[in-house]
């Protein structure tokens, strides 16, 4: 906004400059953002150029070595691994979540709220407890294997816990609501007349879905994909617990730098790199969706 705009005699609605009261109302958010986003990111940025001493304390000595280490093939491989896991998780969440969100969004209002409640209920218990619950379900002598053996569907217990499959199950389970809710938001606003129009104009269900419904719910899909994909890349608790600590993801590597390896500067450099990567992806996808 140029300084000149303020001198215009009458500016309507959204274009009016915020008064003192507006800034006051905005201040808590600014403080929050500064204290918990900007300041920590700045600290991380500074740390990422530092060194560690014998005990693992940060030594303020400028160096780029942390960043050169980020591009070591070990960590690049873990990066691509993590992206793979996150991508698989996102695709499954989308395939499972879209129909659920669609169904909830098209249901009558009474049923809709009950169904939304069902999606939310798991969040009432701690995420760790839910993860441990999955571990008991999947373990070799657990209820899942017990049931399958009893029904004589399998001859020997399935090997699920502590495998990559268990990691994906855990990730999909944890992030599914983050896919359902935004898509539900888009579906709920879907104009029935447009779908009927598509049918009237001779579109079959498939083409109505792909040409009308999907484009109209694209904002929800886009938000859901972001909300699932980004946190899934950084997840470390599920990979440790359900993957048996065998499948290192980038989140585990970063966590390890702040824990066992006691190399905060390197951890900070990894974190900064991830942050830049996300920012770039986000900017790119925003530009693309603007163009569309």
């Amino acid at each position: 906004m140029t300084p000149g705009t303020g001198q215009l005699p009458e500016i309507q609605g959204a274009q009016r400059r915020p008064g003192l009261r507006g800034w006051l109302l905005f201040a808590p958010l600014m403080l929050w953002l500064f204290a918990f986003v900007i300041a920590p990111t700045a600290i991380m940025f500074v740390y990422s150029f530092c060194q560690r001493d014998e005990l693992g304390q940060v030594v303020f000595e400028f160096s780029l070595s942390n960043y050169t280490r980020v591009f070591d093939k070990t960590y690049l491989k873990i990066f691509t691994n993590s992206i793979q896991y996150a991508a698989i998780t996102t695709v499954i969440c989308l395939l499972v979540g879209y129909p659920v969100a669609y169904f909830i969004g098209r249901a009558s209002e009474q049923i809709r709220n009950k169904l939304l409640m069902l999606v939310m209920i798991p969040f009432w218990t701690s995420f760790l407890i839910r993860t441990y619950a999955w571990m008991s379900i999947l373990k070799a002598e657990g209820p899942l294997n017990g049931m399958l053996l009893y029904m004589q569907l399998i001859a020997a217990p399935l090997d699920i816990l502590y495998t990559p499959a268990a990691v994906v199950i855990g990730l999909v389970y944890s992030y599914l609501p983050f896919m359902i809710l935004p898509i539900y938001g888009s579906v709920e606003k879907l104009d029935n007349a447009l779908i009927e129009a598509a049918f009237d104009l001779g579109a079959g269900p498939v083409s109505a879905f792909s040409h009308v419904i999907v484009p109209l719910t694209r904002p929800g899909i886009f938000a859901g994909v972001l909300l699932v994909f980004i946190p899934a890349i950084g997840m470390f608790a599920i990979t440790d617990l359900m993957g048996g600590g065998r499948v290192p993801m980038i989140g585990n590597v970063i966590q390890n730098q702040f824990g066992q390896a006691r190399d905060w500067p390197f951890g900070a450099a990894l974190g900064m790199t991830m942050l830049l990567l996300f920012a770039a992806c986000f900017a790119l996808s925003m530009r693309k969706s603007d163009a569309a």
């Binding site: 600290i43 693992g56 304390q57 070990t74 816990l161 390197f266």
Partner: protein, 364 residues
């Protein structure tokens, strides 16, 4: 953009709930240099004692007993590895009064002048510590630390499933047990086991030695099903694995629950670890910390710890109170020919971490 308010509200709840759930697992990273404003209390015993110790290591009744007797409230915060403890301690967010590091960490902390010297006049029960633990290289004369429990890293075997004799690491890490093995999730441990197998001193963490053991570690990592340091016995009891390399205390618990579990001290060498109580520099309630140390040094209190966590008790008077069965448990009081203890390896920890991370990433 007019989004439905309710949806945003639901999402916000979801995200907050998720973050709250996650919080437990993430080490709080306090701002650096933001030392506590609390002024250290003088000679008087403070009302609260901030105890920062290993998870599953201090019985509840010991803490309540101490509070009942002294009126000092104990805040027991736990960690799962020495390194996690160090990170939090050095970040300086909370002022801890009492920490429980292993021997090599004591050595590093003493070197960096991070521990308060103990006042032996206040530790009247210190005489109960057995003689051979009073002059260890990490802290000769127990100037800065008092042994809490001693343990070994050993092999636990489910003899129902594993019929072949198991004597050492090389018997565990065999192709036929692929996917049936649990190992401690500690990068230094697995490297140390490989070093012992190669006959290398576990403290000579040089790049050449790392290179030498790398193929062994690489092979072993591929065989392991679960890496878990917190509670490796769980995977064993759940039937997900049949053999593993675990802390002796965990092995002793397994051996106590079922005869089918056997605990073996590896013939290549036994890594002995000594966990200690120590007071960090500038502890606000150093007085209370001394009281606590002296309290746990009482034979009857130390016995409570042994009852719950069957590691090797360093308290000679407490050992007299144990039952013959407890003393006979080979995981608690093993016969060992060669003991090795870890020394501080400084920056080599980074190289080691990189190597193991690399191998783990490649194993999948």
């Amino acid at each position: 953009m007019k989004r439905i308010g309710g949806l945003i509200y639901l999402l916000a709840i979801a995200i907050v709930a998720f973050l709250v759930g996650c919080k437990k697992d993430e080490p709080a990273a306090p701002a650096p240099g933001a030392g506590s404003a609390k002024a250290p209390a003088a000679a008087a015993v403070g009302k609260e004692l901030n105890l920062f110790a290993w998870s599953e290591y201090i019985p509840e009744d010991v803490i309540t007993g101490f509070t009942k007797e002294t009126g000092v409230k104990v805040n027991y915060e736990t960690y799962a590895s020495n390194e996690e403890m160090l990170s939090k301690l050095l970040a300086g967010g909370t002022k801890y009064d009492l920490i429980q590091p292993s021997e090599y960490v004591i050595e590093a902390l003493v070197k960096q002048n991070k521990l308060e010297a103990l006042d032996h006049a206040k530790l009247t029960n210190l005489k109960n510590i057995v003689a051979d633990l009073r002059d260890m290289p990490h802290d000769p004369g127990l100037k800065y630390s008092v042994p809490w429990m001693v343990g070994f890293v050993g092999i636990v075997v489910n003899t129902d499933k594993v019929k072949d004799p198991v004597k050492g690491f090389k018997d565990v890490f065999q192709d036929k047990y692929k996917g049936r093995i649990v190992a401690l999730n500690d990068n230094r441990e697995i490297v140390a086991w490989a070093m012992m197998t190669h006959g290398i001193d576990v403290n000579q963490m040089t790049p050449e030695n790392l290179e030498k053991v790398k193929p062994t570690v690489e092979k072993w990592i591929k065989l392991v099903k679960v890496f878990d340091s917190d509670s490796p016995k769980t995977a064993m009891m759940n039937g997900d694995v049949d053999i593993g390399v675990v802390w002796s205390g965990e092995g002793a618990i397994l051996a106590n629950t079922d005869k089918k579990y056997a605990f073996v001290i590896p013939e290549e060498g036994a890594r002995q670890y000594i966990d200690n109580l120590a007071i960090p520099k500038g502890a606000p309630n150093a007085e209370g910390a001394h009281l606590f140390i002296n309290y746990i040094l009482r034979p009857e209190v130390s016995k409570l710890v042994s009852d719950k966590f069957p590691y090797t008790n360093p308290n000679s008077e407490a050992r007299k109170l144990l039952t013959p069965e407890q003393l006979k448990n080979p995981a608690s009081y093993p016969e060992i020919k060669s003991k090795q203890t870890f020394r501080d390896i400084g920056k080599a920890a980074s190289d080691l971490d990189k190597m193991v991370t690399d191998l783990k990433a490649a194993a999948n």
